[in-house]
């Protein structure tokens, strides 16, 4: 007797070729200097929820849950969050008829316990689709990584209102420059053949400041296969400060030069530019990431 597995890897209901896509904002987010005993509602603090985009033709259930890091998902210097109960997603379940963007409010509540002071925790927000077809189906998932750093000390009592902004986007979010010569200025826009743009997607005019930041200042590690660029590198950014209207965009001109020293040939460096919007009682920002491959030693 033979058994038949209707092994339709995308879904069983249609034949031919199809494409489905799932994407989530917050690919990786650092949350620094959080205080024990406090609740942080990211949507109200940053004026933007977690957004999950599904593209496809099939009715789907989209689920979002906090999960601890699995094997291979740990981040150096961080430990798994002791309880996923610290994270709340509201709502965490959606029924969609096809292509849709769903939004969920993320809250983080830390226990009021001095033992977590100075600790660093990793947790993922797992968004995934659940098909409604028969037989085997293939679901898609994306995991947003939250890296939480608890402040080393208790905060002063009067912190006042906290508010910032993250309803903006950098396009592209990361670039790679090949064949950069130490000592020579490189115009990023010319190298990648497109503009570097800040899009203010929110409903309010906002002022932004662009700065180059060392990765160590954010306690980050460089991506695999790269190292942090040397301190002596120069960046020229124009404009450094800009006001962008609601729904508007602004292009950046960025040039950079790596010091003309022998040790910088044949390297793969990583640099960070931070775009920081106005904030009250807190700060926020999105990183623009630049990987530079320098020319081999002559």
């Amino acid at each position: 007797m033979k058994v038949l597995m209707s092994f339709a890897l995308i879904c069983f209901t249609t034949a031919g070729w199809a494409q489905e896509r799932l994407a989530s904002t917050m690919g990786e987010v650092l949350l620094r200097n959080l205080q024990p005993g406090q609740t942080y509602k990211l949507t109200s603090l940053l004026k933007v929820p977690l957004r999950v985009t599904y593209e496809g033709e099939n009715p789907m259930t989209i689920l979002i849950d906090p999960v601890p890091p699995g094997t291979g998902e740990m981040k150096e210097g961080y430990e798994a969050i002791p309880s996923t109960g610290w994270i709340a997603l509201e709502p965490g379940r959606f029924e969609v008829g096809g292509s849709s963007v769903v939004e969920s409010n993320v809250s983080i509540t830390l226990p009021d316990d001095d033992s977590i002071l100075g600790k660093k925790y990793a947790v993922y927000l797992w968004s995934r689709t659940m098909g409604q077809g028969k037989g085997f189906s293939l679901g898609l998932g994306v995991k947003s990584r939250l890296l939480i750093t608890v402040a080393g000390e208790r905060a002063l009592p009067s912190q006042g209102e906290m508010s910032s902004y993250m309803d903006f986007r950098l396009d592209p979010g990361s670039i790679q420059i090949d064949g950069a010569g130490p000592g020579k200025w490189v115009k990023l826009r010319k190298e990648i053949g497109r503009n570097l743009t800040v899009h203010n997607m929110g409903g309010r005019d906002m002022e932004f400041v662009v700065t180059q930041v060392p990765g160590s200042s954010l306690d980050m590690t460089p991506p695999s296969g790269t190292e942090w660029g040397p301190d002596g590198a120069e960046f020229k950014v124009s404009p450094v400060k800009m006001k962008i209207g609601a729904g508007k965009s602004n292009d950046l001109k960025v040039s950079m030069r790596i010091p003309d020293e022998e040790r910088h040939y044949g390297k793969r460096y990583h640099y960070l530019l931070r775009v920081t919007p106005e904030g009250t009682g807190m700060t926020s920002g999105i990183l623009f990431r630049v990987t530079v491959n320098t020319v081999p030693k002559p």
Binding site: S6, S24, F136, V142, P172, G173, T283
Partner: protein
């Protein structure tokens, strides 16, 4: 008199300690930084591939039934895989061992990332014990969901499901082990989930 001075000194010391405690509390602001804006994955492939196998037999998905997974974000990504029974399943997933007969009304699934080449297909023997799908997410590596012994076609970096550069495609194939026997219908339901996360 001496006693009063001692009490006063103690009071001053306590007040000083309290003041020190207040000043030692941090005034560092909360800082939220999006280091990578999105995580983004797409799939495309056959939507009608059928796997049928004799009771107790095995079958690999056909070459033209591969699933193409596209790293559609802006940063390198790792893929994890998990399987779960679908709605109203007739069989349940078996994850106890990767070899031997599959118990009655259960099935076993394997997955491998594999080079796509019209000259060959994935044989059932290419799926190894560490390619067994379970109910928990397992992140792809040079061993997991990859034929690390027999893969002759390309390096794991080029075809594996981890540290996949933005814009790159990978090919995913499955092996299905049928139940040794069944007590009901000869079909069932299940879902395999491919999850992307930015490479740590």
């Amino acid at each position: 008199m001496m006693k009063k001075i001692s009490i006063a000194a103690a009071a001053i010391a306590i007040a000083s300690y309290a003041a020190w405690k207040v000043h030692s509390a941090t005034s560092a602001k909360v800082d939220v930084v999006m280091t990578i804006a999105t995580v983004d994955v797409s799939i495309k492939g056959s939507t009608s591939a059928l796997v049928n196998a004799a009771l107790g037999g095995s079958r690999s998905t056909k070459l033209d039934s591969r699933v193409i997974v596209l790293s559609s974000g802006s940063f390198n990504q790792d893929y994890s895989l998990a399987v779960q029974d679908g709605p109203n399943p007739n069989w349940t997933v078996y994850t106890t061992t990767s070899t031997g007969a599959v118990p009655e009304d259960q099935y076993r699934l394997f997955a491998v990332w594999h080079e796509f080449n019209a000259m060959f297909s994935t044989a059932t023997a290419e799926y190894q014990g560490n390619d067994l799908l379970t109910g928990s997410n397992q992140t792809s590596s040079a061993l997991v969901f990859f034929n690390n012994d027999q893969e002759p076609h390309a390096s794991v970096g080029a075809v594996g499901g981890f540290n996949v550069p933005a814009g790159d495609e990978r090919n995913l194939f499955f092996r299905f082990d049928a139940p040794a026997s069944i007590t009901g219908p000869g079909t069932s339901t299940a879902q395999v989930t491919v999850t992307a996360a930015v490479t740590p």
